[in-house]
């Protein structure tokens, strides 16, 4: 129970044991992945053969291709990065427009539209993927049959991956940004107008700076969700594989510790991103 009430010793002890076990459960897989990135063996498995950086730097001289020489992996990281950037920009821009639409505008059917905006969040990613795949292909077929147009971006490939991920990530961005916009005190806008600001200046100097934490936050979430997305991407991917798809393929084949190396790289990158964001928030709170 809560600290202000007496808690028997057994309860306190078992709480502590449970927490430790939970944290081990939480971090064990990550630690294992990180450790075996440095194991001097051809498979990420015990026993420990000593420390090596081959899985980062190896150049195929000993049959080991390290992360920084593995052009396939590097290309897939780049692909994921490009896709994530597109998804982030689209999701934040459209999410902001949606937030203003839902919080500021009034029009018939608003209630229904706000419901509809939540729907993508409860559709399993695989189904989002196949429905967009099927629909895009049908549109492309139609354009090809009727107008003789080849709409290649509607065939499986990166543009479709971007659209597929965007379709549900923008719903999250919309929720995040709307929540903050809802708390905005509109007299601040009145005050700015009263002090001589034009409408665009109010948006630039008052409203957007206020929304900034939500914009940055939803951009980070959008980037991360796009980078990590698997289900929707799997259905829409073409010749260029993003990182998750590439890793999945290799994991099924039983891959070398280069996957551990790329995983560690991802962990470090995510941690840096998380730290930067938290630093920003801390500065705001201070």
């Amino acid at each position: 129970m809560i600290p202000s009430l007496p808690r028997p010793l057994w309860l306190r002890a078992s709480t502590a044991v449970f927490l430790v076990a939970f944290l081990v459960f939480l971090f064990l897989p990550l630690v294992i992945v990180a450790v075996f990135a440095f194991n001097d063996a051809n498979y990420p498995a015990p026993p420990w053969h000593g420390f090596t950086l081959d899985w980062f730097l190896g150049n195929d001289s000993a049959g080991r291709v390290g992360l920084f020489r593995d052009t396939q992996l590097l290309a897939s990281i780049w692909t994921s990065f490009v896709v994530a950037c597109w998804v982030t920009v689209l999701a934040v821009v459209v999410g902001t427009a949606n937030a203003f639409l839902m919080e500021r505008a009034d029009f018939p059917g608003k209630g229904a539209l706000s419901m509809l905006m939540l729907v993508p969040l409860v559709i399993p990613g695989v189904i989002l993927g196949i429905s967009i795949l099927a629909f895009a292909s049908r549109v492309a077929d139609f354009a090809s049959d009727v107008f003789g147009l080849e709409l290649d971006f509607l065939r499986p490939g990166l543009p479709l991956v971007v659209l597929g991920q965007f379709s549900y990530i923008v719903a999250i961005a919309t929720l995040t940004i709307s929540a903050r916009l809802k708390r905005f005190d509109r007299t601040l806008e009145d005050a700015a107008l009263n002090l001589g600001a034009t409408r665009p200046a109010v948006l630039r100097t008052i409203t957007l700076p206020y929304l900034r934490p939500a914009l940055v936050g939803s951009a980070a979430i959008a980037f991360l969700m796009s980078f990590e997305n698997f289900n929707t991407t799997l259905m829409l991917v073409g010749a260029d594989s993003p990182l998750t798809i590439m890793m999945y393929g290799r994991m099924r084949e039983g891959a070398t510790p280069v996957l551990n190396a790329v995983s560690l790289f991802l962990m470090v990158a995510s941690a840096l991103l998380a730290l930067t964001l938290m630093r920003r928030n801390d500065r705001k709170d201070a």
């Binding site: 007299t187 009145d190 700015a192 009263n194 001589g196 600001a197 200046a201 100097t205 206020y210």
Partner: protein, 377 residues
């Protein structure tokens, strides 16, 4: 010289028959008034009387349905809020939390594309004038309530507006600070000489601060005048009841003697009061007597020097001790009507006991009697 004097004579704010409707409800009903340059004008009224709507029309956030608002002699019809020579101190101040104090003060200057160096200089000078020198780099939420208030005023005054509007800016402060800020506001206004238009539901704020007050009720002005006029010569029963404390009695006029009326209250008490407006014998009336207009005595003999005043008898119902504002609630002996009397500040009657029989009287010239307004639907 001549041009100067005409400019000085021209009111800074004129409203001509300004109307605003929301649906079927008339929020502001053909209100006309003018505010002289450099004066402190208050619009006083209960919540929902239309004063906020009126203020927002002056600021330009709401367009009037009819009539005209002129500021500095120029009609404001179709002029956007950001193009009016008017600045506003908002009810909750609306300081920009994403900016520091200096940036808040310089905000309006930046919108006018004033060069950065001049902006900084002006903002600093303005902060110094409101007693916040050196606070420019502070964040808004690091300031106390009173300091925030001053930032809000500085932010507006730095733009040298023709008119400063204040929307109940003291409402959010606690009582002590409110008293203090009242004085500070008045001093700021006289120091800057800017025309202030202040809205409030607090009659004491309006009386203390203003040169002129418009008392607003149900969308129109009941009375326009100096605080003294409102207090001593209320024009309507609403003003008599709303401005200052008052004993209110309803009844019928039993006799009219020139300027004075004999009133029999609903409780059956007979009093005499000064007639305001026309009142016929038998008409329904409302009479008001200020607590301090009545005099109290332990016996009727004590009140003998007040020749010509009717002496009433009463029982002390309760004592309301509040230092210099102490009063006593008395029940008139026959009608049992509850009547409030201010106690003299000498403390002479501080030892009154509940239940004690006392005598009291008041000067009919200082009691006001109005024809009862028709009942509102």
């Amino acid at each position: 010289m001549a041009a100067n004097s005409t400019a000085a004579a021209r009111p800074d704010l004129e409203a001509h028959a300004v109307i605003k409707r929301f649906g079927h409800q008339v929020a502001v009903d053909a209100v006309s008034f003018s505010v002289a340059r450099g004066s402190f004008f208050s619009i006083l009224g209960p919540s929902g009387c239309g004063k906020t709507t009126l203020l927002r029309m002056i600021a330009g956030f709401i367009a009037p349905d009819g009539g005209d608002i002129r500021i500095g002699g120029r009609s404001m019809a179709g002029v956007a809020p950001n193009r009016r020579p008017v600045n506003m101190v908002f009810q909750h101040l609306a300081l920009f939390p994403m900016m520091n104090v200096a940036e808040n003060v310089a905000f309006g200057l930046a919108r006018r594309a004033v060069p950065r160096a001049e902006r900084t200089r002006k903002a600093e000078a303005m902060l110094e004038r409101v007693g916040l020198a050196g606070a420019g780099l502070k964040r808004v939420d690091e300031l106390s309530g009173g300091q925030r208030q001053r930032v809000a005023i500085a932010r507006s005054l730095v733009l040298e507006p023709t008119l400063l509007l204040l929307d109940e800016p003291l409402g959010a402060l606690d009582l002590k600070l409110r008293e203090h800020m009242k004085i500070e506001l008045k001093q700021l206004q006289s120091a800057f000489g800017t025309t202030f238009v202040y809205i409030t539901h607090d009659q004491s704020e309006a009386l203390v601060l203003s040169d002129h007050v418009g008392v607003m009720n149900r969308g129109h002005f009941e009375q326009l005048g100096t605080p003294q006029e409102l207090y001593y010569a209320p024009a309507t029963p609403f003003v008599a009841a709303f401005v200052g404390a008052n004993n209110r009695m309803t009844g019928k006029a039993s006799a009219v003697h020139g300027e004075l009326v004999d009133v029999t209250t609903d409780a059956g008490w007979r009093i005499r009061a000064r007639r305001i407006g026309t009142i016929g014998v038998g008409a329904a009336v409302e009479a008001f007597v200020r607590p301090e207009a009545a005099t109290i005595g332990r016996t009727s003999a004590e009140l003998a020097p007040l020749a010509g005043q009717v002496v009433h008898a009463g029982d002390v119902e309760s004592l309301l001790f509040d230092g210099a504002n102490s009063a006593v609630l008395v029940r008139e002996a026959a009608s049992r009507f509850e009547f409030r009397i201010a106690l003299p500040q000498t403390g002479r009657y501080a030892d009154l006991k509940v239940g004690e029989r006392i005598a009291f009287s008041f000067d009919p010239e200082r009691a006001a009697c109005f024809a009862a307004p028709p009942a509102h639907a």
